[in-house]
């Protein structure tokens, strides 16, 4: 094969791949709009206050696993205790932090050492002690030895008292109505909805992005945060809403996932064998429920329930995203018998192939695209204008997908001012040129680490809060 024919094959393969992937994205965006519209209409029918004041509101145990989270944890816990929901508890699980996570939380919230009794549904690393608030019985802090995030969640599970378990990240700050909104969706169909996730925003300092638990501050339009916002918008409004529509939710996001406790217990809690717990648990839930022929749904809300901390440097971002890539690979590999298997319905027929195309083989095609297009352009086999036109087409397509997600977000809740939205729109084309190569690098790194069997978390340093500086 000559260089020319090789390049032609390479370019053609990349173009076919792009058409396939973008076709899939567009289909999901359309489905996301349909689902989002349905949810919006349904939700407007309901009076949220009915659930808040109802004796039929199901109780929720919120688990907050925390490892070296001294910066953001007090704000997160305070925002959780401010949630407007009638029956809930907050269980913070310190996973053997090496910093001052517990002393700082104890001092900030005013906790005292105590002993409590718990169940032992799942075995976990030993517990050293407990802290409780003398004034707020809804809060419990479990201080345990390090065992990883899944282990911390399992320790929380052993202390849960309510029918639903809500696992959240320790860097999240929540809107006061977050739990009501989520549980309203579950109460609509409690027999079938076993799990739920919801959209959330990202910011450098979540406590400043949602200072009073009600009004969101303007979006951070510094490029790194704006690009992460685009990622989140597409991931929730286009993808998860579409996945939920076809009932193959691939990942109930770890930052906010609600599950029925009996299901979590039936599944033996969260697995410690994987880099992250959220995707793997979602897949295990699908497999378990489909193998038993149960009718179920894992829902996604098109509603912003809070703000999480976004990495404020490229190094941190790559560390986070390469971990996400690894866990996708680990999960898809572990569940390979579900691939294209009709027994697993849309999860096997659509969900796994989706991940295969959009995440697993993406790094290969990204490398192939860069090598073939640049070599082709450099050797004159591809005209520079053709190279530019293709790049422009992809840039526009990507921006269109992001704008579609932004449109859904806007239908849902106009939290941001027009000027902020205009800035976001203006930054969209840059994402393909500036941000996507970084993401491609993270995915390549994640894939490489997966092949090496690396399952470490590689936690990135938390952003330094300006108040603390």
């Amino acid at each position: 094969m000559t260089l020319e024919s090789g390049l032609r094959v390479g370019v053609l393969t990349c173009v076919v791949y792009l058409l396939l992937v973008y076709g899939m994205y567009i289909a999901l965006m359309v489905l996301g709009h349909v689902e989002s519209r349905r949810r919006r209409r349904e939700r407007r029918l309901d009076n949220p206050d009915v659930l808040v004041g109802s004796r039929f509101a199901p109780g929720v145990s919120v688990i907050v696993p925390a490892y070296c989270e001294s910066e953001g944890l007090p704000a997160a816990v305070r925002s959780l205790l401010d949630l407007e929901y009638p029956v809930f508890e907050v269980i913070v699980v310190n996973d053997g932090s090496t910093d001052d996570t517990v002393p700082r939380l104890v001092a900030d919230i005013g906790l005292v050492a105590s002993d409590v009794s718990s169940r032992s549904v799942v075995e976990t690393a030993p517990i050293d002690g407990y802290y409780r608030s003398p004034t707020d019985p809804r809060l419990l802090v479990v201080d345990k030895r390090n065992g990883g995030k899944a282990d911390a969640l399992n320790a929380g599970l052993n202390h849960c008292r309510y029918r639903y378990v809500c696992a959240v990240d320790a860097d999240m700050v929540f809107a006061r109505g977050a739990l009501t909104r989520a549980m309203r969706e579950i109460v609509r169909d409690p027999a079938r909805v076993v799990g739920l996730t919801s959209y959330f925003e990202n910011a450098r300092d979540p406590a400043k992005a949602l200072p009073d638990g009600v009004a969101f501050a303007e979006p951070d339009t510094r490029p790194l945060f704006a690009f992460q916002t685009f990622d989140y918008l597409r991931a929730f409004f286009n993808n998860r809403m579409g996945w939920a529509r076809l009932n193959f939710m691939l990942c109930a996001a770890g930052a906010f996932q609600i599950w029925r406790r009996d299901l979590v217990e039936e599944l033996g809690g969260w697995s410690r064998e994987y880099t992250c717990e959220d995707i793997e648990f979602t897949f295990r839930a699908h497999r378990f429920l489909r193998e038993r022929g149960r009718d179920y749904r894992i829902a996604c809300l098109p509603d912003c329930i809070g703000v999480t901390e976004g990495p404020d440097s490229v190094v941190k971002l790559v560390s986070q995203r390469e971990r996400w890539q690894r866990v996708i690979l680990e999960t898809c590999w572990a569940n390979r018998r579900m691939w294209f298997n009709p027994r697993y319905g849309t999860v096997g027929a659509l969900g796994l192939p989706y991940y295969l195309l959009s995440e697993i083989v993406a790094p290969l095609f990204e490398v192939l695209a860069v090598v073939t297009l640049l070599t082709g352009a450099a050797t004159g086999l591809i005209q520079w204008w053709e190279f530019a036109a293709l790049t422009l087409a992809i840039t526009f397509a990507n921006s269109a997908l992001t704008t579609g997600a932004l449109l859904m977000h806007d239908f849902e809740r106009r939290t941001h001012r027009l000027s902020g939205v205009v800035r976001l729109l203006a930054l969209m084309p840059l994402e393909m040129i500036v941000y996507r190569p970084v993401m491609a690098w993270a995915r390549i790194k994640g894939t490489w680490r997966f092949t090496r069997g690396d399952k470490a978390w590689h936690k990135f340093e938390r952003n330094v809060r300006t108040d603390a500086a």
């Binding site: 349905r38 919006r40 209409r41 349904e42 407007r44 029918l45 309901d46 009076n47 949220p48 009915v50 659930l51 004041g53 109802s54 004796r55 039929f56 005292v112 050492a113 105590s114 002993d115 409590v116 009794s117 517990i127 002690g129 407990y130 409780r132 003398p134 004034t135 008292r161 109505g177 009501t180 109460v187 609509r188 169909d189 409690p190 027999a191 009004a215 053709e386 036109a389 293709l390 422009l392 087409a393 992809i394 840039t395 526009f396 397509a397 921006s399 269109a400 704008t403 579609g404 449109l407 806007d410 239908f411 809740r413 106009r414 939290t415 027009l418 939205v421 205009v422 729109l425 969209m428």
Partner: protein, 330 residues
Amino acid sequence: MDGRSGLVLLCAISGCAWALLGLAVLGGRLRARRRHLTPEVVGGDTEWRVPEEVLDKIGLGDAAANEEETRQILGRSLRSDDPAVRMASITALGRLAGRFEWAIDGLVEVLVRDADEAVKVATELDRLAPRPGPRLPPLLGHPSSTVRFYAVRLLAGYEPLAARHVPAMIEDRSANVRAAALESLRDVASGETLRCALRLLDDPSPVVRAQAVRTATAVAPLPAASFVVPLLVDRSWWVRNAAREGLVAAGRDVADVLAPALESDDPALRAGAALVMQDIGLVDDLVADVDPGQLERILDAGGGRLRRAASERARHGLHLAPDRPHVEPA
């Protein structure tokens, strides 16, 4: 079409798509501005102009203008195959129930007919109290335990009705209904409540035993305490936990009832009693006591974690029960 034209077309299509979607975002903003709707209100939870949406969805006109037609259409839509339409119809009934008695009848009918939507219907009926009250007692004899469960729970909002009808439900064959009956009796706190709760403390179902403990300790904390103490070693954690919480809620006075448990041969009972004594603040108070005997007995019974927690509190001068008078550490 050659490759070049294809590329140009691809560029044009994707560029137009982006531009159109961007215009849709901006247009939506400007339209909202013209309608003087603040960003926080549009699409937010504070806004729920329900009627138009409900009526759109179920194909209904002005409900008030044509009551009979509204009733018929809702009757049909409640039997729709689409769960979203059924759910919308329930909400519509809930809203119309503010004006029309037939809407309350409709909700009760759905509660009886469709177990999947029972929680939603019950939530609406609960909100409408006291009007649905007289319709509830007949449901207590319904063959479905789901219907009986919700009827019993809803009756908690009607004291005289609950006092008259609910005590008999503690004999129900369904454990969930028995537990619900106890919960409702706790809410209304009738003269029968304590008797019913004490009777079910040895129910075969842990759900019922746990509820019996909660109800008994809620309505008569101290009189119930001696009956509840043995449940600190129940085979179910849920019952043990309910017993601990119930005894703690009884306050400091429960210490005398618990004291014999500290001398028990059963280490689990001793540990359970020690936890309760910790939670009522007794351990912290005893830290200052000149006779450390009782404190040592509690700490021995509670185990290492309870002892470490107590000494940490003492070290920092903290008290687990802040409403108790603070005692300086010895």
